[in-house]
C-alpha cells in the first residue's frame, strides 16, 4: 500500500501560502530589525561590555548625583505634565462629548491641529511668547501689571508649558474615545433616581471614564519621559532631562557606555510602565488612538 508517500496537496498549498506571507512581511521586518532592534540591542550590549563585562556604567547611573537628579527631575516633570494635561484635557474631552456632532468635530480638530505642526515650530512659538522681550511680558508690562519681565522660559516652567502643549492631544483623544462609549441612558437613569448632576458625574460618569484617563495619562507620561527637543530648547541648560543626559554623554563627553546605560534604564522604565498598564487596559487601543 502506497498511501503516505503522496504529499497532501492542501498542506503543500498552505505551506506555500505561509511562505508568501512571510516574504511579503520580510522587507518591513528587515528594516525594523536592522534599524531599531539591532541599534537598541547594541546599546544594551555596550552598556555592559567594554573590554570585558562591567557594571560600572550602571553603578554610575545609580550612584552619581548628576544621574540621580536628572532621573528624579524627569519623573517630576513627567508627573507634573501628566497631571496638568489631565486637568486641562478632561474638560475639553467632556465638552466635545456633550455638544452636538458639528461642534465636537470643531473642538477635536482644534485639539489635533497642533499635532501636525512641527515640534520645532512650536518650540519657536513658545520662545516668541515667553522670552524676556516676548509677547506675554510685553503685554503684562503694557498693562503695568509687572515692572520687571518675568522669567517664563529657559527654565522648568517654560519646559512644562511647551511640553503640555505638545502632549495634550494624546490626553484628549483617548479620553474622548472612552467618553463616547458611556451610554447616555446611565446618566439619565441616575437623574431619574434623584441624583444631582454632580453626583451622577462623580458616581457614574467619572468611574466609567477611568480607562480613558489611564490610557491618556500613560501615553503622556511615557512620551514625556523621553522628551528631548523641548527641554533642550526651552529648558535653558538647567533643566537636564534624561534624554539630554544621553545626548550630552554622546556628543560632548564621548561617554558611550554611560549614555547606553542611561538609555537602557529609560527604556526599561517605559516598558515597565507599558507592561503594568496593559494589565488594566488594552494597549493597542491606547496606541491606536494616535
Amino acid at each position: 500500500m502506497l498511501t503516505t508517500s503522496v504529499p497532501d496537496p492542501s498542506q503543500k498549498h498552505r505551506r506555500r501560502e505561509h511562505g508568501l506571507m512571510l516574504a511579503l512581511v520580510s522587507p518591513a521586518l528587515l528594516v525594523i530589525l536592522a534599524l531599531i532592534v539591532l541599534p537598541v540591542g547594541w546599546l544594551a550590549w555596550q552598556s555592559i561590555y567594554h573590554d570585558g563585562f562591567t557594571l560600572e556604567n550602571y553603578r554610575r547611573v545609580f550612584t552619581e548625583d548628576v544621574y540621580w537628579r536628572s532621573f528624579a527631575l524627569t519623573f517630576e516633570i513627567s508627573l507634573a505634565v501628566t497631571g496638568i494635561a489631565l486637568l486641562l484635557g478632561y474638560p475639553v474631552a467632556y465638552l466635545a462629548n456633550s455638544v452636538p456632532k458639528g461642534w465636537s468635530i470643531l473642538i477635536l480638530s482644534l485639539v489635533v491641529l497642533p499635532f501636525w505642526t512641527s515640534v520645532l515650530v512650536r518650540a519657536y512659538a513658545w520662545l516668541v511668547l515667553l522670552q524676556r522681550s516676548g509677547v506675554i511680558n510685553q503685554l503684562l508690562r503694557n498693562l503695568e501689571w509687572i515692572s520687571e519681565p518675568l522669567a517664563l522660559v529657559h527654565n522648568t516652567f517654560g519646559t512644562v508649558v511647551a511640553t503640555v502643549h505638545i502632549l495634550l492631544p494624546f490626553m484628549v483623544l483617548p479620553l474622548y474615545a472612552t467618553m463616547q462609549k458611556i451610554p447616555n441612558e446611565l446618566m439619565q437613569a441616575g437623574a431619574s433616581l434623584g441624583a444631582s448632576p454632580s453626583l451622577t458625574f462623580v458616581r457614574v460618569f467619572l468611574p466609567l471614564s477611568l480607562p480613558g484617563v489611564l490610557a491618556g495619562c500613560t501615553m503622556v507620561f511615557v512620551l514625556c519621559l523621553g522628551f528631548y527637543i523641548t527641554p533642550e530648547l526651552l529648558g535653558g541648560g538647567r533643566t537636564v532631562m534624561v534624554s539630554m543626559l544621553v545626548s550630552r554623554n554622546v556628543e560632548l563627553y564621548n561617554q558611550f557606555g554611560a549614555a547606553s546605560a542611561v538609555a537602557v534604564v529609560l527604556l526599561l522604565s517605559v516598558l515597565a510602565i507599558f507592561v503594568v498598564v496593559s494589565r488594566f487596559i488594552s494597549l493597542d487601543r491606547a496606541l491606536g488612538q494616535k
Binding site: 501560502e17 506571507m21 512571510l22 511579503l24 512581511v25 522587507p27 518591513a28 521586518l29 528594516v31 525594523i32 536592522a34 534599524l35 531599531i36 539591532l38 541599534p39 537598541v40 547594541w42 546599546l43 486641562l88 484635557g89 474638560p91 475639553v92 465638552l95 473642538i107 491641529l113 497642533p114 501636525w116 505642526t117 512641527s118 515640534v119 520645532l120 515650530v121 512650536r122 519657536y124 512659538a125 520662545l127 516668541v128 511668547l129 522681550s133 509677547v135 510685553q138 495634550l168 454632580s198 511615557v222 519621559l225 523621553g226 528631548y228 527637543i229 533642550e232 534624554s243 544621553v246 545626548s247 554622546v250 538609555a263 529609560l266 527604556l267 517605559v270 507599558f274 496606541l287 494616535k290
Partner: protein
Amino acid sequence: MTRSAAASIVLYAISALVLVYLILPILIIVPISFSSARFLTFPPPSFSLRWYQQYFANPAWMQATRVTLTVAVLTVLIATPCGVAAAYAISQSKLRIMRVIHMALLLPLVVPIIITAVGIFFVYAKVGLVATMPGLVLANVMLGLPYVVISVLAGLQSFDPAQEMVARSLGMNRLRSFFAVTLPQIKSSVVAGGIFAFISAVDETIVALFISGGQYQPLTKRMFTALRDEIDPTIAAISTLMTAASFMLVLLASARQKKGG
C-alpha cells in the same frame, strides 16, 4: 438648576482657554514671519517679506530644504510598498508569528526616539552611514513604517478577502488580483499612510541631529541649531511655510480617508 448652569459656564470657559492655549502659539508665528523688525516686537512695526527673502536667498537653507524633500519623497516611495505588503500579510495570514511581527512593526512608536537615535548613530558609525543620504532615508523609512501599517490595516479591516478569492478562482493570479481587486478598495488608506510617512520624515528632528551632517543636513537640523544659537525671524518664515504645507497634506489625507477604504 443655577448650580448646573454655573458648572457648564465654567466648563465652557475652561475649554475655551485650553483651546486658545493650543492654537495661539501656532497662529502667533504668522504675523512675526511678516514682520519688518530684526528683533521681536509684537505687534510687528510694519509688514515685509524680508524673512521669506532671507530664506529663499540663503543657499544653506535651500540645500537643507532639498535634502528634506528628497529624504521625504524617498521615504514614502520605500516605506509605502513595504508597509502595504506587511499590512496585507498581517491581515491575511493565520500564522501565529504575525502577531509578534505586528507588534515589532509598531516598535518605532514605543521606543523613546532619543534611544532609537543614539542606537542608530552607534550602528551607523560602525558601517559608515553617518552623514549620508542612504542613512538618513533608511532611518526615516523605519520611523514612517508604523504609520503606513496602521493606516493600511485599518483599511483592510473593512475589506472582504473573499472578493480576492473570487478574482483568483476566475483565473487571475495572486498579484493581479491584488492590484485589480484589493488595492483599489484600500487606496485611500494607502495614500493616507504615505502622507503620514511623508510628514513624519519632514518633521523628524532627533535622529537627524545625531546621524546627519555635512551637506546632508535636513531642514529640521538647521532649524534646531539656529534656535539654539540665535532667534531670527527667518525661522518664523520657515515655520509658517512648514505649517501651511503640513496642514494642506493632512487635509488631503483626511479627505481621502473619509472617502472610505
